[in-house]
């Protein structure tokens, strides 16, 4: 029982990490654009 719950909770963690990764890609792109703008200035 505990093993099944453990594996399910692990699955949840991986899911939220992937979600976090998606948002992070957007944040990084924004940051890169900011850096590019700063360079042009």
């Amino acid at each position: 029982m505990s093993s099944i719950v453990f594996l399910i909770s692990m699955g949840f963690v991986i899911y939220f990490l992937i979600q976090g990764d998606r948002q992070d890609r957007i944040d990084r792109e924004k940051k890169l654009e900011e850096l590019k703008k700063d360079k042009k200035k």
């Binding site: 453990f6 594996l7 909770s9 963690v13 990490l17």
Partner: protein, 425 residues
């Protein structure tokens, strides 16, 4: 079969860590808190998951280009590094065994390395909250099982701690759980997923159950402190009072007489043998620090019989709290973060440790007052409560090198940097 399935499911952590190192930190914190080793009995039980995740994270940092990465230099982090160096020097001249002292230092080194990486990588709201989700789901797994066992057995099951972790006994587990309650309360309104919101609400309630089920007197005092801090900070005070009264009634009904008897010993603490052992350990730590004010006796050495007996001869120099002491041949853990550091690293070590706690407390307070984003204020408030609990309950527990403390201080430093950035824009 289970080990193979686990390894298969764990492999994404490594891939994610190399691809995006901040996810390596999230996997790392989940591993520290969930302790997958306790779920495995086959070949996978011997694999050092945290070690390999740390390597994957560092490889990811070297090969990847992360525009959001920061430099970890900060006065608070430098204090942590100084304490790390100080404890290393203490261990060079340890009075105990080098093996035991360096084993404690090795864990402390990992905690400081982990904190440095947090300052470097957790540089956005999304990153910090993903990290907190991994942390809370990790420890939440242990809270869920221990809390349910206590409830299902009608309060007769005693929570004894989590093996292969820093929460190895009931007192340490109670403190670790108390430290995450404010984080659950911070995350509940922040997360968008309904299941996660519901899960964190349940886990926050079960955390309080776990503290009661640990039969830890220090934990019980900590629970009162957390409840008071939360009461001061919640907007709906009446709802909180109704919830607290209902919860306490159920807890008193479910908890056995054994629990009530245990908590009532707080009143006669000076006669209690467990407490006398603690006071003896505090006196010996003070004597050891007076003998070696700059370096102490080395980490963990006060728990060795020959070191304990060395200072026991002079114990009558002190009669603070109570003149009674425990027999000389029984070394005890310091049972106090302050006396633990005092014995391990001397007065110099204690000063560094207090400076870290004091500066972290001030930083959290200043962020609560001056942060220009609401979420930074709320998270700083939660960490501030955690620090208060650690500083007060930690006075009765040996957990000075607990990795979660240094991780949360590192998050405070990240919040400070984020706040400066936001103010500059």
């Amino acid at each position: 079969m289970k080990d193979i399935l686990f390894l298969f499911m764990f492999s994404p952590f490594f891939i994610l860590a190399i691809r995006n190192p901040f996810l390596g930190l999230c996997g790392w914190v989940w591993t520290i808190m969930a302790i997958p080793k306790n779920m495995l009995w086959g070949f996978a039980a011997d694999i050092r998951f945290t070690y390999f995740l740390a390597i994957a994270t560092i490889i990811g940092m070297i090969i990847g280009r992360d525009p959001l990465r920061k430099v970890p230099w900060n006065s608070l982090f430098i204090l942590m590094l100084l304490l790390l160096i100080q404890t290393a020097l203490s261990n060079v001249f340890t009075l105990g065994t080098g093996e035991a002292s360096w084993a404690v230092w090795s864990d402390f080194f990992k905690a400081i390395l982990f904190s440095g990486l947090i300052i470097m990588l957790l540089t956005t709201k999304n990153r910090i909250e993903t990290f907190l989700i991994a942390l809370l789901l990790g420890i939440g797994f242990n809270i869920l099982f221990e809390g349910l066992k206590f409830l299902v057995t009608g309060g007769s099951y005693k929570i004894i701690g989590i093996h292969n972790s820093m929460m190895t006994d009931n007192n340490l587990f109670a403190l670790a759980v108390l430290m995450v309650i404010p984080l659950y309360l911070y995350m509940i309104p922040q997360v968008k997923h309904k299941f996660l919101k519901l899960g964190f609400t349940g886990l926050a309630g079960l955390s309080a159950v776990c503290v009661i089920g640990s039969f830890s007197r220090g934990g019980f005092i900590g629970l009162v402190i957390v409840s008071w801090q939360v009461f001061l900070k919640v907007k709906r005070k009446l709802v909180f009072i109704i919830f607290a009264v209902c919860f306490s009634s159920v807890a008193i009904y479910v908890a056995s007489d054994r629990w009530s008897e245990r908590i009532q010993t707080i009143e006669n603490v000076k006669e209690d043998s467990s407490f006398l052992g603690r006071v003896t350990a505090w006196k010996l730590a003070t004597l050891a620090a007076m003998d070696n004010p700059l370096l102490g006796t080395g980490q963990d050495s006060m728990q060795h019989e020959h070191v304990w007996q060395l200072y026991y001869f002079d114990i009558n120099q002190f009669d603070f709290i109570t003149p009674k002491n425990t027999p000389s041949d029984k070394p005890k853990a310091a049972h106090s973060i302050y006396f633990q550091v005092l014995g391990d690293a001397g007065f110099l070590g204690l000063i560094l440790f207090l400076l870290i706690l004091f500066n972290a407390f001030l930083l959290s307070r200043s962020l609560v007052k001056r942060a220009n984003k609401e979420w930074i204020k709320h998270l700083a408030k939660a960490i501030n409560t955690t620090l208060i609990v650690f500083m007060l309950s930690g006075g009765l527990l040996s957990m000075a090198y607990y990795d979660l403390l240094y991780a949360l201080i590192a998050i405070l430093i990240s919040l400070k940097q984020l706040n400066i950035e936001k103010a500059g824009k």
